[in-house]
Symmetry: C2
Subunit: 379 residues, 2 copies
Amino acid sequence: MADFEFSIDATSSNARRGVLKTPRGDIQTPAFMPVGTAGTVKALYMDQVRDAGADIILGNTYHLMLRPGAERVEKLGGLHKFSGWSGPMLTDSGGFQVWSLAQLRKMDPDGVTFRSHIDGSEHRLTPARSIEIQADLLGADISMQLDECTDFPASREEAERSLELSLDWGERSLDAFGDRSNQTLFGIVQGSNYADLRQRSAEGVVSQQFGGYAIGGLAVGEGHEQMCETLDWTAPYLPADRPRYVMGVGKPVDLVECVARGVDMFDCVLPTRSGRHGQAWTWDGPINLKNAKFAEDEHPVDEAIDCPASRDYSRAYLHHLFKAGEYLGPMILSWHNTAFFQTLMASLRTAISDGSFPVLRSELSARWASTKSAPRTPD
Amino acid sequence: MADFEFSIDATSSNARRGVLKTPRGDIQTPAFMPVGTAGTVKALYMDQVRDAGADIILGNTYHLMLRPGAERVEKLGGLHKFSGWSGPMLTDSGGFQVWSLAQLRKMDPDGVTFRSHIDGSEHRLTPARSIEIQADLLGADISMQLDECTDFPASREEAERSLELSLDWGERSLDAFGDRSNQTLFGIVQGSNYADLRQRSAEGVVSQQFGGYAIGGLAVGEGHEQMCETLDWTAPYLPADRPRYVMGVGKPVDLVECVARGVDMFDCVLPTRSGRHGQAWTWDGPINLKNAKFAEDEHPVDEAIDCPASRDYSRAYLHHLFKAGEYLGPMILSWHNTAFFQTLMASLRTAISDGSFPVLRSELSARWASTKSAPRTPD
């Protein structure tokens, strides 16, 4: 994994600004990765994703292995060629999506058997098969170990069993991955909301020597405060010289607070999913363009964002497009939101470099306080 | 209507190549107008429409008067500003869409009362109200008179009554339009499939002195051959020095044969509607990307078309996007089809200029013969 040099260029307390070098290009960190679930960042052209400032995107192993099929993607030249994204790409292991199937999966010590949500066909993921799909067939620049995403909330016993399973699968993932210089593999820390289990998991995963480390089991209903606390417990046990990645996060306020805790990489469907539903993220917080109050609002979505989607269309026009169910509404707002998230990350990076991060952090966290996720209430 | 100079630069038998000058830019004819029903050409950015080669687009009065409302569009600066299209725009009168509502409309000698398909609210269109909406509120460069689209098939008596009503409404439309130099108004010939009624309608409409002439009541189930025959009956009675427009047409083979009969302007939802449903129009005819045979086809849609949508994505990728229900599939194919139709029109224009039109016409009409619409069979 020698080609994946990671350098920290500036810090502000625990926050770090750096560059992760990959054979397909540099990734400025902290980085937000747009999610290209099925080989497309929904409703965006890849050049819009790139021009918005994204250095890297994410692909979903679960979706791609079911459709069009990992072997087919490989036959068609790999996921980069297939999807038209030439920059770095990270794939998840498929484990998280399988975990979310709940009724359709069966875990065993060697892997997980599940049914496709598309056609009910049976499939199996093991640590080795996940690596084969990600690294060999899709051709991911960064692969993720297969892990078990612990249910939330989980008993201490369950969290312990689960983290041990993930450690074992991490080892098997490394064995399957072997020695590659053009690709790298990240491990995943579990441990639910138990400080000592997070430490135990982190120390275990770090001892396995991955190219980077993800903090898993977050964004599953624990809420903003618990997520921050979990990062406070975990980050000190991760090596300073390797990238840290929080999967599936998050809202802008989450990104700010995770960056403050030393996280370098993120991914989330929020920008595009919000965009498809009429929600725009702006410096003043989220607004829903379907709201009648925008019907005659001639302002652009957010003129502070240097993107045609943010500047060139009135809120009134977007309101109309959503009311009329036109494609162009989701297209423009997904693009704007993608640009907004990239602009936010660029601002955080600049603030870490020039010393203004503490001020920016407290301003943004105060401004966006009302958007913090509350813990999931029991059913 | 002095600013709408129309010049014929070349002819090939009845086919003509020309330029219609408008205050918002020149329109190369024969021209195909992409349809921007609700202030957006479905699934395309306006710069894609422009870069594909379109000089002019069409807006639908019916859709826009219901949502967002013509007065609201006017308040927001007119349809050009609202939608972001700065070139020439033609609007239909609303009559055709109201006609297609069938059960929801009531005609009388002064206009038509109808119910919105969106919320059931009652609305009324008269010749004067249609002009007010198109020219004053939406700000169309080219408005169309309100007419009654004759049912097809129609008895001779019904066709006669209907064409007289349209002539009367044409006169009222002209009165409402008055004297404008920055906008123009087109009349519409009716007469169903009766040669002498087409002549009578054409002579009547032409005597009213419009800026251009549409041949209406086509593309309503009469089939390709009847459409061509109707044009043969009608075109000789239209002045050579004004543009001729066939509304709602059509397939590529229709465009070729209508151009051969001296038609200068067209509009149709086919490129974008086909695109949303997985169908691509190519020089080799239409193909449906949903078909399993494209699942591993690495060729682009049609590399002979100079458009990113046509060249930069494999058929296999498009097949996948449609199977997965991703936005990007309709986005790319609507864009490709729009570029294909514009490329076809440019080829026809060039062929008229350089003398190769007869050869190109017979080659394309033979190649696309199987796509000709058959007459609608009786229910």
